[in-house]
Symmetry: C2
């Protein structure tokens, strides 16, 4: 069996990767649900098992990364579809406080820890930024499964995640400037942040109003097909736009979802988006698993640093977000604070930028990746308990529930 069908190879290999990852994720999801654990942890574990950490059946290739990115994009698009702007305004003040305080404490804590272990200023600022950014995908998936995404705590988390991402972008720009020979370009940083704010404000206020007043933009009887493709095109367009101005792509996808949610025929759209939301997100969770490199943690020093950074990341984010949410009842503030803890892919991206800039060396990179994965795995079980205490099983059931 050695026919030299060279050009057929890449197609077969890519299809095999997608098959193996999706099958493993599905099995992990089913198994963890039967053990009464969050399915997404099963998907992450499945990624680790088929990935380099255990069997090495798949590598985290560029194609799998694209599918992972679309996974979290469609996840937040779905969350946006379940969110109404008017409900977001109700939690505006809490969300702002949670976002700001949930950034300040981890940032300060990360810088302090880095200085304490002898890093220089450029590296310390990067560590601070890597501890800042919440990955709202994980929490969204858990709250969707529990039907709690539209509750007050869920909405506060979503609003805070937008604030959080804008602040993280600002701090990242500063960190990159400090690591660069040219220093911080204050004008460029301010212009970028102003553009990010303008982007969010324009599409949140103008976009939702436009679609609320003109639902036929999506549901025109002149379209020969369903509104699915127009909706998906808006989602991809805003995600790409957000990424180009330095925000997370998922912020754009979330805003796109909120815009589309304003059209009157909301439910048929959700039925049609549901299969994309079932197909792509498992790649996101499994991809996190494929990025785990257990061999990096063979020595006690690295393990100790990992424990320290992870505890710091959990405590500073929890305390900061909880302080920000002190206007809410205690049980809700607990859900909000826990929900902000997972760092997921965002911490990994920041560490990757730092590594590319030469200010984050291998050991620190592995530690930040490990912290991101650990905060991601630890929180879902705790969050389920906190939501159960809330007695807040509101909202519509999810297609993935």
């Amino acid at each position: 069996m050695s026919l030299p069908l060279a050009a057929v190879g890449p197609v077969a290999d890519t299809l095999t990767d997608l098959f193996v990852v999706l099958l493993a994720a599905k099995l992990g999801d089913e198994l963890f649900r039967r053990l009464d654990q969050p399915g997404l942890i099963g998907e992450i574990a499945a990624g680790a098992i088929v990935g380099p950490a255990v069997f090495g059946l798949v590598e985290p290739t560029e194609t799998l990364e694209v599918f992972a990115e679309l996974g979290v994009v469609f996840l937040l698009f779905w969350v946006g579809l379940e969110t109404r702007l008017s409900e977001m305004f109700e939690v505006g003040r809490s969300a702002l406080l949670v976002g700001v305080l949930g950034v300040v404490l981890p940032f300060a804590g990360g810088i302090g820890l880095a200085f304490a272990v002898g890093e220089d200023t450029a590296t310390a600022v990067f560590v601070g930024v890597a501890l800042v950014a919440t990955s709202v995908g994980i929490t969204s998936a858990v709250l969707l499964q529990l039907g709690a995404i539209r509750g007050r705590a869920g909405r506060t988390i979503l609003g805070a995640a937008v604030i959080d991402d804008i602040l993280a972008m600002l701090l990242l720009a500063v960190a990159v400037g400090l690591g660069d020979d040219d220093g911080v370009d204050v004008t460029a940083v301010l212009v970028t942040v102003a553009m990010a704010l303008a982007f969010v404000a324009f599409f949140t206020l103008g976009g939702t109003r436009l679609f609320a007043q003109r639902p036929r933009l999506l549901h025109s009887p002149q379209f020969s097909e369903s509104p699915l493709l127009p909706a998906v095109i808006i989602c991809l367009g805003l995600a790409a736009f957000a990424a180009h101005i330095g925000l997370a792509a998922i912020i754009g996808a979330f805003l796109a979802g909120m815009m589309v949610a304003e059209t009157k025929e909301q439910h048929p759209i959700e039925d049609e988006v549901a299969p994309l939301y079932a197909f792509f997100p498992p790649f996101f969770f499994a991809f996190i698993g494929t990025e785990v490199e257990l061999s990096e943690f063979a020595d006690a020093e690295t393990l100790g640093l990992l424990a320290g950074v992870t505890i710091l990341a959990v405590v500073t984010k929890y305390v900061g977000a909880r302080l920000g949410a002190r206007g809410l009842p205690s049980a809700e503030a607990n859900v909000v604070a826990l929900g902000m803890v997972p760092r997921g892919e965002v911490g990994i991206i920041v560490a990757g930028i730092g590594a590319a800039a030469g200010v984050i060396e291998d050991q620190l990179f592995a530690v930040i990746v490990g912290m991101s994965v650990l905060t991601t795995i630890l929180i879902p079980p705790l969050l389920r308990g906190a939501v159960a205490e809330l007695g807040e099983h509101r909202g519509s059931p999810s297609a993935r529930a």
Copy 2:
């Protein structure tokens, strides 16, 4: 605006590519439908316009190629969902004759033409193979839109395409062996063909029977979700398997669709697969457009060769398939023969293998790519006319119709 957010760039660029291609394809599709032309030609034209041939907004990147491949995989999976095995057996004899004669004539014609313009044996055999393989994706999309895929002509085309692909694989293996220093490994070729036949027979007979008798494999009440992911996993698995043994991935996807179609609750599955079938195939058609390189056809000699090869490709395939279908009524035989003409991506893949092996030089490669695109664009309007004459608007309407 030059913040050095290096690691954010690839995500933004990939999302932008997907956004631009999907938006362009949707606009091309809508425009061509309003002009009463086949939508997929509009999607191919849109790919050419945003691609290198005109504006150069997107390149045919690896990611777009993966999406294109999944596009044709989900297209044939959908076709399989609309196909019942018992209906395929009714057309078995005609399909076999169409497949065999539709391969023999183009192969002989291609070799003859290549010798006539002075090519050597190795190159001539490659040209013959490049003229052989039908791309059933194009014809399937047209027949689905017309609701004619389940008619006798549609089923004959699908069956013939399976035969066609097995023969093309056999001839390609021979061609690669002739271009190789080690010569043709007859044992390896026979083993490969035997495996392909065994694969098709096993999943066609055993797979459909298994699912017909045990629909709960997909629709188990124990699954916490819908049968969508299990069905998609089967599709990706058989597509990858087919590609690994040297068949086209779409053959595996088609067989997977037929297997899933045997489960009793067929319609919910179709509703859930429909969004994937709406999302991915536009990338397949637009990708064909991005591969067009008009600059290659600046001289009269290349243009003349293109015209000669294209006419030969159309005439030999039409005549061969028409002869094979002579047991059918004349109007149906016409639909079958026209439907086998598009070469689409298969001719391009064969030419690419020949180029990699050093037996297909640049001019010939461009001509084969041009022939593949031309046969793909020319046929849909003719096919629509032929189906209209048939008065055979049977079958279920398509989600893309």
